[in-house]
Amino acid sequence: MIDWSWILENWLPIGLLLADHVQLVTLGLCSGMLVAGLMVLLTLWKPVLARPLIYLSGILFTVPSLALFILIMPFTGLSKTTSVIGLSLYALLIILQNTLAGLASNPAHILEEARALGYTRLQCFLGVELPLALPALLAGLRTTSVTLVGLVTVTALIGQGGLGQLFITGLAQSFTTPVVVSLILTVLLAFCFDYLFYSLDKFLIRWVR
């Protein structure tokens, strides 16, 4: 069922596809994080925006991924840009929701205490609110990275997709080996990202038991 010689012959292209996959996930994650960060700052400046943003990102998240990529395609074509924009949008939605929810669930009496001790708005955000919301923030990044690993394979349909291309190859040639290889590597990659953020959480957050 599995053609081992094919794997041995094609280890280099497979490796390159894996690297491409990691690159797409990382790019999507980073730009999503950046935009989410800017939006969180926006809600600090105008707190009324927080609730509409949470709702909006919730609604956008229900748009099917394939539809989203097809919607972006007229503007940026079958390029890596299309893929990264779509991935970033998904990343943005998950990260934003988790961060805003984390910030909103910070205990009010602790923020009040910070105010009473003489923290300025910015000092309170950087010194108290953000660290307290860090577990939620990291949980968001963890979910996002795992979601993106899966989502990248979908972008194979617009000519990108890292390991997703192996699916297409396998499907077109009715050849199972590339499909199985792609599946196993994707799952392993998702596991690695998950473990990365899990360790980051353990390393950074020592105060919750």
Binding site: I110, E112, E113, A116, G118, Y119, L132, L134, W207
Partner: protein, 344 residues
Amino acid sequence: MIRFESVMKTHRGSARLAVSGLTLHIPKGEICVFVGPSGCGKTTILRMINRLDSQDSGRIRVDGVATDELDVVTLRRGIGFMMQSSALFPHQTVAQNIGAVPRLLGWGRDKIAQRVSELISLVGLQPEFLDRYPNQLSGGQQSRVALARALASDPPVVLMDEPFAALDPVIRERLQDELVALQRRLHKTIILVTHDMEEAIKIGDRIAIFEGEGKLVQFDTPHNILARPASEFVRNFIGKDPLLKQLSLMRISDLPVDEIDCEFDLLLDEKRIPSKWLSDSTVPAPELVTVSSEQSLHHALMNMLSVQNGVVVRVGENGRYEGCLSLGSLYKALNERRPGVAQS
């Protein structure tokens, strides 16, 4: 030190006054306790001092300066604050929590570290607690850390909003005692809010009793409030047994040492520490019960009731004999405090 000048406040969206024209002067270096039923506005009044709440009209002056003329952050950094359930920052160690205000004030690292280690022993905790996180501490320990944090920049004024309400009774009483002992050394102006009259009597140099709508009904020393309640409301609020409460206010050392005729002789050792009552062969000697002169008359009374002859032996700090106490000594003490009899 702190002056309220016809301060008024209505909560937003409420027709009722929260504070109706409060004028009050809190003297420097005393513990002033705000007490009253819940919803009487005492917490709002406290929170107006560091502008966590704002007044609609009137002035509040801290050390002569009107609070609304100062920058709000400067004002707050200059006033210690401790709230109910000790709102420590859970993501910071004990040391970081205590050093919060000095950090905001831009103190150097060494100066902060030195101050933090001073404070941790001041509030009776071991230095090894400094690296722990708040969720690794008991409720009582958390309260101690919160107190240290409130005192960190050595502010002249400290505000405490029901600081001990969430603690179990034994720990609460111990912390109350320690706060009083600490205050004897620090001489801060402390304003403490509580709904517990016992607590107010125990720690207050002065008590402000509020009725609804932030109306001040009596502002006086605990003794005077117990002896001369200003209204039926205050009488009810004080509750039962005002005499017992007065006894818990007075220390044994407040009484003159007087000799009491006792049917037994007391044996002292060479350091003048009482060792036992001597029996005169026919009647067995009662159990020897000593009370330290630092303790309250209430404590002395409870001990008198527990021995057969109703006499307890009073000892000084080092355990040495000072005298004896009986019920008669307590009657005398209370009579001297009673209004109208005091002058006779």
